[in-house]
Amino acid sequence: MIDATEVERAVIGKLAGDAALAALLPDGVYWDLARQGATAFAIVSLSSSRREGELREGESFRTFVYIVKAVALGADADPIAAAETRMHALLHAGTLDLPAAAGCALMTMQWIDRIRYTETIAAETWQHRGARYEVTVTPTT
């Protein structure tokens, strides 16, 4: 059985374990929401999911679409642009370290569409950059 939580952990772990990305986003990688006070971080969140039922008693593949974005306080474009580039290098056509408990193996991981916007909160500028990535896995058990 596919354990979706383990797939999420693998995506977060891949980003959190990268030293180059950690240097650009020192406050870490979070699921959905960052800790209070964080000013340079990555967010991973589920955008959608679906299953492709053909084999293996109704499920041959499962696809998760994740929002993966860097969020940074300030108007300096260079660090967040570098973070976006690094996340893409890690995820697009990349590998995932999925444990046996995940119950699945990675088929493909690919960029779908870009995310980029700026918001102003209490006169502070926040930048958001990243993409949605599609992660397709197949059951191993």
Partner: protein, 128 residues
């Protein structure tokens, strides 16, 4: 020995093939329109309501399509819609518009594929 292959009904076959795209378009439009309307309803129902601007910003836009194409666009036009979908620096993403529209689009494409297959044609490749 026969040295001639005679096909009868070729003219009729050509006429049928020529009319096929137009016939399929006529059949596909109600499928796509119903899908687009259903999608609008689902997105409006799922969106949170504070001022009502988010729900009011969901639009069904029929497009002028060239040739035999049929095109309907479901758009979310509220200026803060992306902040709901992808989150702010202090709030979590609430994926609503994209998952609904993507799911409904796949269903609509499957329905149009089924329509095409009723003509005896095979549809191969990505059906989504």
């Amino acid at each position: 020995m026969a040295n001639q292959l005679r096909l009868s009904g070729v003219r009729e076959l050509r006429a049928e093939l020529a009319a096929l795209p137009t016939d399929l378009r006529s059949g596909a439009i109600p499928i796509l329109l119903a899908s687009a309307r259903r999608t609008v309803g689902l997105v409006v129902a799922a969106y949170p309501e504070v001022t009502g601007a988010l729900k009011a910003g969901v639009k069904l836009i029929p497009r002028d399509a060239r040739g035999v194409a049929a095109l309907f666009t479901v758009a979310t036009t509220a200026p803060h819609a992306h902040l709901i979908e992808f989150g702010t620096a202090r709030t979590r993403p609430r994926a609503i518009f994209l998952p609904i529209t993507e799911r409904e689009r796949r269903a609509a494409v499957s329905a149009v594929v089924a329509l095409v297959e009723t003509t005896g044609l095979d549809v191969t490749g990505d059906r989504t």
